[in-house]
Symmetry: C2
Subunit: 395 residues, 2 copies
Amino acid sequence: MINSFYKEMTGKESVIRQFFDYSRKRAAEMGPDSVYNFSIGNPSVPAPDSVTRAMQELIANEDPVTLHGYSPTLGLPSTKKAIADSLNRRFGMQYTPGHIFPTSGAAGALAHALRAVTKPGDTVITFAPYFPEYIPYVTGTGAELKVVPADPTSFQINFEKLEEYLTPDVAAVLINSPNNPSGIVYTTETIKRLAALLEDRQKEYGHEIFLITDEPYREIIFEGTDSPFISKLYDNSICCYSFSKSLSLPGERIGYLAVNPAAKDAELIVPMCGQISRFTGHNCPSSLMQRAIEGELDNTSDLSIYEKNAVILYDALTEIGYSIVRPGGTFYMFPRSPIADANEFCWTGAKELGLIIVPGDSFECPGHFRISYCVPTEQIEKSIPLFRKLYERFV
Amino acid sequence: MINSFYKEMTGKESVIRQFFDYSRKRAAEMGPDSVYNFSIGNPSVPAPDSVTRAMQELIANEDPVTLHGYSPTLGLPSTKKAIADSLNRRFGMQYTPGHIFPTSGAAGALAHALRAVTKPGDTVITFAPYFPEYIPYVTGTGAELKVVPADPTSFQINFEKLEEYLTPDVAAVLINSPNNPSGIVYTTETIKRLAALLEDRQKEYGHEIFLITDEPYREIIFEGTDSPFISKLYDNSICCYSFSKSLSLPGERIGYLAVNPAAKDAELIVPMCGQISRFTGHNCPSSLMQRAIEGELDNTSDLSIYEKNAVILYDALTEIGYSIVRPGGTFYMFPRSPIADANEFCWTGAKELGLIIVPGDSFECPGHFRISYCVPTEQIEKSIPLFRKLYERFV
């Protein structure tokens, strides 16, 4: 018989998906100018030309049996070395290839990191607002996800609450900075305070608490934002990364996890990931993609449009009267809804005007809404009068 | 703390891997001619030129934002349609795109299919000799793998034993045909008998028993071999496929599962796979690779070398005196070891001569050894005197 757990899930469509589908339907019925789709986090800028050329050169010049042959279980040595070298150069770390595990994007990295440092029954902590896929990522390991409520004044960590949530069954803390959906980057002060608290609790509980950092937006940082390399500030950490946003390759499913060389059992974790893959049916990412990114690790797509859009949108919306914590990176912002019920605001109000924005309830942070501004700047500019109309309707 | 289950596994290296590593070491020390590496199932022929051209044209002509953008969770519609159409055309099936789920190779397909049709505590049956990765694939779902002993006279199914193993807790039967390591293809008669038995037991137990067919070698079939399309003969079936061998793309991790349209809940299984991915951290295979194979579904690499090698090797080894069930496909054969202890035969005898072959114990079929003959024909020819020497040493 088919598995009833997964069967029951198929009926439940994600809210983001529902908005996305509405957006497509409206565009088909009323024309593409009738809708501003701010619901999806899909990069709007192309991969760098140099990435395209790297793929072309590999395909043209390499022996196909080698190029498309199996990667070793733990990833191509040249790719692992290139990633380690780039992180060391940029962030002053001491990674070796043995600390790097290429994965199918950040999703694959998180699934492996979580399995490596938890056992069924453990608790994993994250912070609202958070990416809703964390629930299956964590529960898929047999652990339980507990969510520390947001500090909506800054979207930095709510330490008062965190202290209550930290109990001896906590095996890992999962953070996402720069953050989806808030666009906030945790400051050096925030990370240092988190690190100090976790160090204390590690001693008190007599076991490690791993910090798993989900960093697909690491390269999308706006001017003047303090953005520490988190693993530099806490030893028991695993950095999970994806090239989906920085190199605009989301469909190619290429990322990695990097085990902090200072972590307990640091040398064991990547070999463990190789074992974990056997149980989940994961294998290395595409061998062509592993090779193609080797020379592109210090490079990014032209990400400037995201900051340009952020500035235009933030200035205009705050001028209208919206209350927003200014994003420090990503291509999201997370304004407060002018009415308490963000669902009503998004579904009834915004949708009618063709503004497709997502209520904060999806990110366990009600009373807010997410705008994904990875769209052409012209769309941002055209949408502003509608955001004004929407505000005036409710306030 | 790191997970002790996966930690303990890191110490245990697979026997195949140990042989492979020895082979590389010996080649480095004594020269490449000192070793005949028959341990690994890595295609030795290149991908078809048309696949290479398809990749090049996509990269040159398509908008990179679209080409490298996220696939829908259930796969690219055009890829799903092309796969369904090809299977329908070739095998007289009635697949729709909704029955097709693109995966990261056969490993990804099996991990999804197993989770879709079992629940923790269920039993999954397979047949010796079998691919040892079935153990983690099955136990990763929470089910238990039980292995029906081989019929070493034919390596078809041992039905007498199977009848004993079929109990009400069996949720799925997992078969691999053409088979790794035996090279045997299940005949129409075998599949029909299996189907009839499973139909009976479904009625008796009052629940479905899914047949999961692992078919990465489907296109490597030798002349005169009866090779039915298994899903045609049993309704509750899920076909798991990979392009690793047929198009020589193992490193690109591209395959699919195809749910039999006649299966119970056939329309639900692919959407369930989309949910399962969220828990395992799997996502669609590379969007470039999905697109690249669309026009190549009725095509293969030049696979003729595998049959050529099979014939030379089978004729020579049987002439020497080895007892072998003649392979009907794949690039493996599985001779009987001339001495009862195949480990001694492989480790002590063959290894000393530079013949790297794998004892059948790895496939839960002692007393045999596997030869992977996906190597240049010259190597096959040169190895024959060594196989003779080896035989004469023990007999």
